[in-house]
Symmetry: C2
């Protein structure tokens, strides 16, 4: 039996990429099988589709947090160090803020072809490392093709509104769960972990969820085995005692 | 934290009384606290409210199962032996088949006064042992009074349709759960056990449910403790790395 792991995340989200690496580290140590479901979450649904080139991300961050340019640069430097410690190459110097809605639509399609995880990784790289504009359909088709998806079909999906409802549905569930920050992990439909939790905690969640699922299965099997011992009355009458006590 | 135990059962149901004793034996060995919820189930909703006196239950059973009178008597004798082994005095010789809807309504009221379990026991005794007609309002008021419920209020409830919707709701849930025979136990909202399962199995279910609830609670506490470690991005921006790695 596979353990279901759902991760709400955005692409324009450095902690989400860190969270993906942490999850991968946890999965390396996990004994069971898992089923990954990358769920859509847009941190900034109003981000422009036509993001300009040559954005000064230090100035952007300084404005956003209301801090001097030097402080913003220090924040970026620290985030870059965290990324590097996980083998991730954050290049905020060339990052191009983009709307991620279409990328999320494409991820839903990739899921139907079992290529969601690969495409998610390509999207992180393109956005966080390569300074590509991931709202651009040409870029998205290219990334889809790079993981083995059909570029023509990708283009057709992007030109329509296919999978838009799936993105909205993920976001609606996020709302119901009270998710305001990402990444957000739900393991085995039971254990919720918010943020880029360290691999050890994710592994703990995975093991607990798997142990409980096994236990629940055994209980059911046990019930089936002992079905003849659980005598009952039904509309047709009562079971006869199986033996004189 | 209390473990929730829900039991769908009828009063006109010998295995349900046996199941109650099995549950009580399990609870004697159980280390935790429980919250009992007796849920309504009518094995024969069409049973007459005005059941006749002097029913020949052996003949009734022989007809029901299509067996000779001697075989029906043998079935009864075996059920009586099972009851006796649990300290229950089944008197099928004087049993008066009755509609149990009003008794179930009264049980819902008794629940609001924390007297449901006591009334349930009195109803089993009245029906299974004492040959009383438990569709009779006078009998029901008497039983209610015997456990400390206000007889006038009991009479008022019986004369109205109070708690009728509660009975129907329990039965609707039973339908959703696919319950066709009773007793039927649901422990901790997770473990379902069908039939008068032996005390050991019920105890196992109780312990599992309690252990899981404790574990879930600890996980939540653990999550809360480690909240500052799960860095995330939100609409207002991304968390700063807590320390240079």
């Amino acid at each position: 039996m596979k353990t279901r792991v759902e991760i709400w995340s955005d692409i324009a989200c450095p902690w989400c990429w860190v969270g993906k690496r942490n999850l991968e580290a946890a999965l390396d140590s996990f004994e069971g099988d898992v089923e990954l479901h990358w769920r859509s979450f847009e941190l900034d649904p109003s981000a422009p589709k036509e993001s300009p080139e040559g954005v000064d991300n230090v100035a952007r961050l300084a404005r956003k947090y209301g801090v001097p340019r030097e402080a913003a640069q220090a924040m970026i430097d620290r985030m870059v160090e965290v990324g590097a410690s996980r083998g991730l190459d954050f290049r905020f110097d060339r990052l191009r803020p983009s709307n991620t809605f279409d990328a999320h639509r494409l991820l839903h399609w990739a899921k139907t072809c079992d290529l969601q995880d690969s495409l998610k990784e390509q999207l992180f790289q393109a956005y966080m490392r390569d300074g590509r504009r991931i709202s651009d359909h040409e870029v998205l088709v290219d990334l889809a093709a790079s993981v083995g998806l059909d570029p023509e079909r990708a283009q057709a999906i992007l030109s329509s509104d296919t999978h838009g409802a799936d993105v909205r549905e993920d976001e609606a569930i996020a709302g119901q769960l009270g998710i305001t920050g990402v990444p957000f992990f739900v393991i085995g439909g039971r254990y919720a972990l918010s943020g880029a939790q360290p691999p050890e905690l994710l592994l703990k969640g995975l093991r607990r969820a798997a142990a409980e699922a096994t236990e629940a299965e055994q209980t059911q099997a046990h019930q089936a085995e002992s079905a003849d011992r659980g005598e009952a009355c039904g509309p047709e009458g009562c079971a006869l005692p199986s033996a004189t006590p």
